[in-house]
Symmetry: C2
Subunit: 329 residues, 2 copies
């Protein structure tokens, strides 16, 4: 008879209230897998959609246990795993199932918890730093001396982007509708705080002396597209990583041509395992040491006991957070 | 007193009828320049816009003489020019002034006329092959085994794209509303001819067995965006090089994210001289030899004497052409 564990379960499609801690079979690590005892797991907007039934987990991952990221301690390793041993502190992204005491993950997608970062705080790293680093560095080739504009700068991905861009030597402008979030982002390294009202495009052009932003990280979607096109510098790159504000918008293809601009969309969850492993390997080599060096830090808004997952979902839905909300076992 | 030459002049903003051959001062080659005796100059849609007064030439180029490309014979070289000598056959793109017996160009933007290509036919090469090669290879990294979709496949850029993609080892699908253009494109190497009616997206998905196109070269703009998004393969790249069909369209940012797609705009004319020189150098090394090898060929619809520039503009405006329309001196 298999062992059991506690997990946060989607008891039926619905709002935060359908989440309940139940006892379920504990997964076994197969060949190439790690079994990780979860310390914390970050709450993502995707989890809210999944709970409502509108964003199913990819095949091969638990459908009824949300959770796209984790930090914890390796409990057991599957056959053929060479780089990990029980007791090591690991973190990473996964297709689902991380709202649980134990999560089974592919060993080559796990990343070591950086030296100097507590394992419970590390739960705030994977999704947002993977997303922001992949988008800014690997996809948009943001480089020193360039200007980055981040919308929703107080979000998890926004707070990661500010730190990564500063560490690269880029100048960072960020928008938010909440003055307090802008203040906190400035404390994290944001160079120019831009109130997220209708005047933001004019303000961005003023700060950049008419040149605009070389890279735009868009976490909002539709309502910002017209303004983004207006402030995209020549040869600028815009990357869309979320569309909570709406997916559809009017694009001006002539402006895109004139500025020789690029708009790209990206998502981590749907990528094949081989790509996730390649990303984890590069992240381990290039980003993990920057945490150890003190240049990057996880930003935690609040930690909830796993049994309070409904409260955690409500807080994320409220848009009142700065950085990440975590569930703890 | 400076020498004179004949040139096609925009006598006032207006339709094709405002173009007249007049005698004007012949330019002198400054340091780093070539003076080229023009054999032929291609007619571009941009010339039609410029004639109407709605697309001014960049600074430093003649405003009243259209002409973005040329092929001819080097007549004289300016101070400091090492790679060119009088008598050499040259072709290239320029900011304007090529509708003339002589055109002054930066020597480092000129490209040798390929061996085996007549200098008058070479006038059909620069704009369309530079545009298609830059868009497909340098910007979209089209590679062997991938699938390219070209809209307006009978256009100058379309006919260049079909040949370039075939030569790279890519599979090429092309749309046109004119059955005869599709037939002629198949003779040039088009793998799949797709009638440009409302069913084209369904037909593209059928031909690609549900996968879609890895790269889409869009020469039409707005009306094709929804279909392009529907048929863009995962990690697909769409590049917009013209918007005669309209600049504005609704984009679905969620679909762009889900497919991890890219939409980019590009234009040659507005690029700084240094970029044009770099492009010419790579084109000389990588593309010119493919003409000499017989893998690529200029596609000429019709050659007009320069004095018939108004007729040539009318023909280009008619959309009845296959490949390029040239003016000859």
């Amino acid at each position: 008879m298999s062992e059991t564990m506690r997990a946060v379960i989607i008891t039926e499609p619905g709002g935060p209230e359908v989440l309940e801690v139940r006892s379920v079979p504990r997964p076994e690590p197969g060949p190439g897998d790690l079994l990780v005892r979860v310390s914390t797991s970050g709450v993502n907007r995707a989890d809210l959609l999944q709970t409502r039934g509108s964003y199913p987990a990819p095949k091969g991952f638990p459908q009824e246990i949300p959770g796209l990221e984790y930090a914890g301690t390796v409990e057991a390793v599957g056959a053929g795993v060479r780089d990990w041993t029980p007791g090591a502190a690991a973190m990473g992204i996964t297709g689902g199932g991380a709202y649980a005491e134990y999560v089974r993950v592919a060993a080559d997608t796990a990343v070591p918890v950086p030296e100097g970062v507590a394992v419970d705080a590390a739960g705030a790293i994977p999704e947002v730093f993977f997303t922001a680093w992949d988008a800014l560095v690997l996809q948009c080739a943001l480089s020193a001396g360039e200007t980055l504009l981040v919308h929703a700068v107080g979000s998890g991905v926004g707070t990661a982007a500010v730190q990564l861009a500063r560490d690269l030597g880029a100048r960072v402008l960020g928008t938010s509708r909440t003055p307090e979030k802008l203040e906190r982002a400035v404390a994290l390294g944001l160079d120019h705080a831009v109130p997220g009202d209708a005047s933001w495009p004019a303000r961005v052009m003023e700060i950049t002396e008419g040149r605009g932003a070389d890279v735009i990280l868009d976490l909002v979607g539709g309502p910002y597209l017209a303004g983004n096109q207006r402030v995209l510098a020549p040869l600028g790159r815009q990357v869309v990583v979320g569309v909570p504000g709406g997916a559809r918008a009017e694009i001006d293809l002539r402006a895109l041509m004139g500025g020789r601009g690029t708009i790209r969309g990206t998502v981590l969850r749907a990528r094949p395992a081989s790509e996730k492993a390649a990303l984890a390997a590069r992240f381990t080599r290039e980003v993990v040491p920057r945490f150890a060096a003190g240049a990057l830090t996880p930003v935690v808004d609040r930690v909830f006991p796993a049994a309070e997952a409904p409260e955690a979902h409500r807080l994320v839905a409220s848009n009142r957070t700065f950085g990440k909300v975590l569930l703890e076992w």
